[in-house]
């Protein structure tokens, strides 16, 4: 998600700042590069134009041409422009009413029904009692699809016989939610390829009958230039209060988020990142801008870890353990136990590619990580760690050659693989220690001031030498 856009934007930035100072001509060609990246990501042409203008104005205003530190400043300018275009600080759903009503809108195939279920699942996890309403009288079996999904996530669904008007469906659903003491009603409306009179009337009827405070437009992340006209179309009938960008788990570049937030002024509230019911994430414009520019998204990662590790049911004990592991990791004292814990947690955090991308500077490794999972590398890694003694797992410095040989034999792997794993833990320690400063910009400070420099997972020689020395010391102890 957002990878390709991020990659090409970062490449533009690197070219722009390769020489330290940038000339007026550099700036022009850099802006042209950024334009190419944005168009390639399907950002609507008017939004491309306004975003470029914003960047160019700021660049000129901050006298970036000829000045020092152009790279960091350009990065900052681009970050601000992206965040602003994406809608600033993001917004929360207004669910104060009882029951709060959410109407989902969208063209055919945008993913409304799946999104409705995901939203219900999410709100239920947040402690609300949602109800799903099948108000798509048109697509054959749409109600069955919603009912199947609702059963799977254990959320009540309201449906009426075919031929019932949407207004009646809506009114009765809300009455029924009141009766059952449910506090959120999520209405799945029918999709259409065109906003014809019939659909417009249907949406108007549904809106009048249910008076939903939240009217969320669902849009496929792969939508191209027509994203803006689709949004404008729905704006005229239903004034969407927010956008849910679906199917961001493909390699869609997500330019539609910029098109709609920036062009139609509809803020993105959620994004669908997979097929599982829990694959719906809050959309934070600043964090997304971070991800696009590979500045990482530690905030979201921390939330996911908290959700996966602690969960609502686990006690304070789990929380303490999680905190301890986190603190250890950030000090750079990560152990094989921690790594094993992480490996086992990965599945509960979501697809590994997504997770890796949230770590600053690691965006480029997402694909490698995905390939690693596919090739069974994680299982092999687990086998190697399990072949270590508890003491070895806690202190990698103990791993002398004979011990490594024993581990390799125990795990049924080669000694090279064991060595690679030890080296990897080493690298992760270094990386986490640098991330541990809390300020992602420090991660970039070491190099030419650009994120993505370490995207290949390379560690500056200085850091690893220091680390090796530390390990040797440990061995002597």
């Amino acid at each position: 998600m957002f990878d390709a856009l991020g990659n090409s934007l970062r490449a533009s930035l690197r070219r722009l700042t390769g020489s330290g100072r940038i000339s007026a001509a550099d700036l022009e060609s850099g802006l042209a590069d950024i334009r190419t990246s944005l168009i390639g990501a399907d950002v609507a042409m008017p939004v491309v134009a306004s975003l470029l203008e914003r960047v160019a104005d700021r660049a000129r205003a901050s006298e970036i041409v000829g000045g020092l530190g152009a790279g960091e400043r350009m990065l900052g300018i681009l970050h601000t422009a992206l965040t602003e275009t994406l809608g600033g600080s993001g917004r929360e759903l207004d669910l104060r009413e009882r029951p709060a009503t959410i109407l989902l809108l969208g063209v055919q195939g945008a993913g409304k029904t799946t999104t409705a279920a995901k939203l219900a699942y999410r709100l239920a996890k947040e402690g609300r009692r949602p109800m799903l309403v099948a108000a798509d009288p048109r697509r054959p079996a749409a109600a069955e699809q919603l009912a199947t999904l609702a059963t799977a996530i254990k959320v009540p669904v309201h449906r009426e016989p075919i031929g019932t008007s949407v207004a009646e469906i809506g009114t009765r659903a809300i009455a029924s939610a009141r009766r059952l003491g449910l506090d959120v009603v999520i209405i799945d409306s029918s999709g259409r390829t065109t906003l014809d009179d019939e659909l417009l009337q249907e949406l108007r009827d549904l809106r009048n009958a249910t008076n939903p405070r939240e009217r969320l437009l669902v849009l496929d992340a792969a939508t191209g230039q027509s994203a803006l006209s689709i949004a404008e179309g729905f704006k005229s009938v239903a004034e969407p209060t927010g956008l849910i960008l679906s199917k961001l788990d493909g390699d869609a570049r997500g330019g539609a988020a910029l098109s709609i937030a920036g062009g139609a002024g509809i803020p993105v509230v959620y994004m669908g990142t997979g097929e599982r019911p829990d694959a719906l994430e809050r959309f934070h414009p600043d964090r997304i801008a971070n991800r696009i520019l590979d500045m990482g998204d530690l905030a979201t990662l921390a939330e996911r870890v908290r959700d996966a590790e602690i969960g609502p049911a686990a006690g304070a004990d789990a929380e303490v353990r999680a905190k301890a592991a986190e603190a250890r990791a950030l000090r750079g004292g990560m152990t094989f136990d921690d790594l094993l814990g992480q490996l086992r947690q990965m599945s509960s955090l979501g697809p590994i590619g997504q997770v890796v991308k949230m770590i600053p500077g690691m965006g480029g490794m997402a694909q490698q990580a995905e390939a690693a999972v596919a090739s069974g590398e994680l299982t092999r890694t687990e086998a190697i760690i399990l072949s270590m003694t508890p003491a070895e797992r806690r202190d990698p410095a103990l791993l002398t050659l004979p011990r490594r040989r024993r581990i390799a034999a125990g795990a049924g792997r080669t000694i090279e693989e064991v060595n690679r794993l030890i080296k990897r833990l080493d690298e992760m320690r270094t990386l986490m220690r640098r991330a541990g400063g809390g300020d992602p910009s420090r991660l970039m400070g070491g190099g030419a001031g650009l994120p993505g420099k370490h995207a290949g997972g390379r560690i500056p020689p200085k850091a690893s030498k220091r680390d090796k020395r530390a390990k040797k010391g440990g061995k002597r102890r």
Partner: protein
């Protein structure tokens, strides 16, 4: 090779395409209308092509080729270039294919397309068979069953959560016994980035070849007409794992003009076979390059 009757485009079909994809709001049409002079403002034409999802690479190529071609107006030159890019679409062995496998990402309109193809074949006097091999999406089988009943076409159903290849196997056996043709297979939508699901497609393809070695198979990638440059990525990945023979461009009545099909044609050489122009069962028409390009350019030339 002779074009099968049901795959031929009629005058009525062509009218439908023009109506669907040539609304007055087309930015390209506006630009071209202003440039009836032989040498237009190419920069503006570029912007307009980009706004129609043609993509940077194909747009650059189109403009270059338009500049190199002769013509009385900017529009005529762009039209010539686009037709050249699309090439001769009708001379292809797959016109006689009697197994049609529909593949694509989620929500592009595979199930609807399957039903429309069946309706069209049936309308031409053939006896099509529909195969509901989308065993993944909740109620996808119910949806195709309902559509099959509506069109009066028999549907072989997979088992929800079951192996799609099994349903396809059954259907091809049944088709051989009762001489159904064409056999139209609806598969589950899958993101092109999910390698496991893409492998499943290769398997489906193998099963078809194994069970019905004598039948000609056509694998059609269903592309959402509103898709942007990601459509190109979809085509690339699906072609790699399932071997795509052609494209079905859906939802062209939605205000999108499906410019990404030009990018797909240019990069992968994949022809567009069908165009979805609306929600009625008859709203699927064979691709005709001239009509499509006229639509892309905002209507037939009358200026």
């Amino acid at each position: 090779m002779k074009l099968a009757f049901w795959r031929k485009s009629s005058a009525d079909d062509e009218k439908r395409v023009v109506e669907a994809i040539a609304p007055a709001s087309n930015p390209l049409a506006k630009v071209l209308r202003r440039f009836t002079a032989p040498e237009p403002n190419w920069r503006e034409i570029e912007e307009a092509l980009l706004a129609n999802d043609v993509g940077l690479a194909a747009t650059t190529a189109l403009i270059q080729s338009a500049r190199d071609s002769d013509g009385t107006s900017g529009r005529a030159r762009v039209r010539t270039a686009a037709l050249q890019l699309l090439g001769d679409e009708t001379s292809d062995a797959h016109n006689e294919a009697d197994v049609v496998l529909l593949v694509g990402v989620n929500g592009v309109g595979k199930t609807t397309t399957a039903a429309k193809l069946a309706a069209r074949a049936k309308g031409s006097g053939l006896s099509p068979l529909l195969v509901a091999a989308d065993t993944f999406r909740a109620a996808a089988i119910d949806q195709l069953r309902a559509l099959g009943v509506r069109e009066g076409v028999e549907v072989v159903e997979g088992r929800p959560g079951g192996d799609p290849a099994a349903a396809i196997h059954d259907a091809l056996t049944l088709a051989a016994a009762r001489s159904y043709s064409p056999v139209i297979i609806d598969t589950a939508g899958r993101m092109q980035t999910r390698s496991g699901l893409m492998d499943e497609l290769s398997k489906i393809r193998r099963v078809v070849t194994k069970v019905a070695p004598t039948r000609t198979v056509e694998v059609l990638l269903v592309l959402d007409g509103t898709a942007g440059q990601n459509g190109l990525a979809q085509a690339r990945e699906f072609d790699a794992s399932a071997g795509i023979d052609g494209i079905v461009l859906t939802k062209l009545d939605s205000g999108a003009r499906g410019g990404v099909a030009l990018a797909v044609r240019r990069e992968l050489g994949l022809p567009i076979r069908w165009i979805g122009t609306g929600e009625r069962p008859t709203d699927l028409v064979p691709f005709a390059a001239e009509v499509f390009v006229d639509g892309l350019l905002g209507g037939p030339a009358d200026y």
